[in-house]
Amino acid sequence: MLTRLVFAGQLAFTLVVAAFLIVPAVLSMLAGVTVNYFRGIRSGVTLEWMVEVWELYAETIVRSFEVAFATLLLTLIVGVPAAYALHVRQGSWSRLIEEIITLPLAVPGLAIALALLLTYGGFGAFRGSWLFIAGHVVFTLPFMVRAVMAVFAAIDVKTLDESAASLGASPWRRFRDVIAPNARPGILAGSLMVVTLSLGEFNLTWMLHTPLTKTLPVGLADSYASMRLEIASAYTLIFFIMIIPLLIAMQMLGRDKRSAA
């Protein structure tokens, strides 16, 4: 009897917490399809706001995804080998490098953006395009490196590497055939983090953006500041619609390859 009571209590608590988090999201999404938010849902349901958002901001959405995937590509190319090197050479230098990589998480994004601007702001074309991605890479790299290192620690990658070496595999083949495939869960977790963080990153991006290079969150801030609340909400809704299938697809991609191998 008591255990049932405890269970009921726990269930109620969980539901309340979940509702606390979910209700605002649902309300926000509803606002995006409501004719007049101040009169409530009774004023009618419309897709007009979403169409308007798409016309105004489609470019920012596409750009956000471009930036996110470019960031992902770079963090993969840099982060996975870096994680391997840091795991295998566990000296005090490695610890230091690990700390330095992690540092951008503790430094406010605005400060990073300012430093990047001070250093590279003078290069016009770079300022308008790649500087963005550089900022995102600096910000997201620790998540990739940490996630991959966690997997390396769990699977004793050093011995796997040694056993592949004993079978005649060169360092590159070892990395390609054994290390990278077995780091897949970490690479996947890291990739999800990198993509979502890059898509949602605001303060660094806001500082770095030019009128021609707005991303989604910057556009969102813009719409909150200057448009009707319904437009900003519709914008959020579009964001949800785009990112959730993306995350699911990435999860499935990771799982597929594992079972096929």
């Binding site: 699977i155 056993s163 004993s166 079978l167 595999a169 495939p181 897949r184 191998a261």
Partner: protein
Amino acid sequence: MSAGVSVGLEACAKTFADDTRALEPVTLEIARGETLVFLGPSGCGKTTTLRIIAGLEAPDPGGRVRFDGEDVTSIPIERRNVGMVFQSYALFPNMNVAENIGYGLKIRGASRAQRQARVEELVALTGIEGLERRQVDQLSGGQRQRVALARAVAPRPRVLLLDEPLTALDASLRERLRVELNRLLRSLGITTVYVTHDQAEAMALGDRIVVMRAGAIAQIGSPREIYFEPASRFVAEFVGAANIVEGTACDGAIVLPGARIPIGTTGKVTLMLRPETIAVVPPDAAELSGRIENVTFVGDRQRIVIADAASRPLLIDAPNTIAAAPGERVGLRIDPTRIRVLPEERDEQGGKS
């Protein structure tokens, strides 16, 4: 019949980056087709020696590793053509059993058909038929061990290196696999270096055993030599059970509380008596007697601890049929031909001399 190469180590020492000396300079020769076992407690340098032969560690400057006379010291492991089995097996989780076994051949550019034929051969040899398509995490410990062995042997390496390959298994399986491994190594005839801390494994598998202690070789010899003629007290106690009796011999005999044991020499001596060389006899007919302190029945025999016979309690292995009860006084007969006088210790036990 024999495959593989002879392996020579010349003054191979190893000092790690933090200045700890893992290995004193070791020089030894492993014959073509021989199985050499490195035996010793953890931290004795046996795995370091194996890793130097493999190419996973470089010896300190001045050390040389030779395969059939050829200096391979600076050749990295991937070009030494060695086969290695790790204690954790280190099977690739992203490949199935057949892919694991065939990986070394794939690296060497063997065709799909060649690989398949060799994998089939090894699967049969190691008795894991039917598991080829299994994922590694679906295998039992014994099966993993066999896959690891098959994978190491598949590319026909010049030397097979095994680092505690049976340690992760439970006792009964370990014993069975030891027999299988022995058969396999004999049939391959490959030069094999085997590292273990288990003296029964060393005895069963080694043509020769290298007993190591604190980074140095304590003794090299056949299993019989190591067991019957240990070079030091450490070897005597590490390999099998041993009774160590210290005393001073006068007139060619050593005097114990219970009796005089005749030995050839005079002066301060250390004797080793194996438990199975002492027999329990009726007290009145015996030259040595003592009191039974403890009896442990282990199935095929019973181990009896005798007090009051020597300066320290004596261990005796007696047949499982005789009656023995704690407190009882018994006579002991020692086979005089099997008493081993140990050489003088050179301050190894941290003693005062």
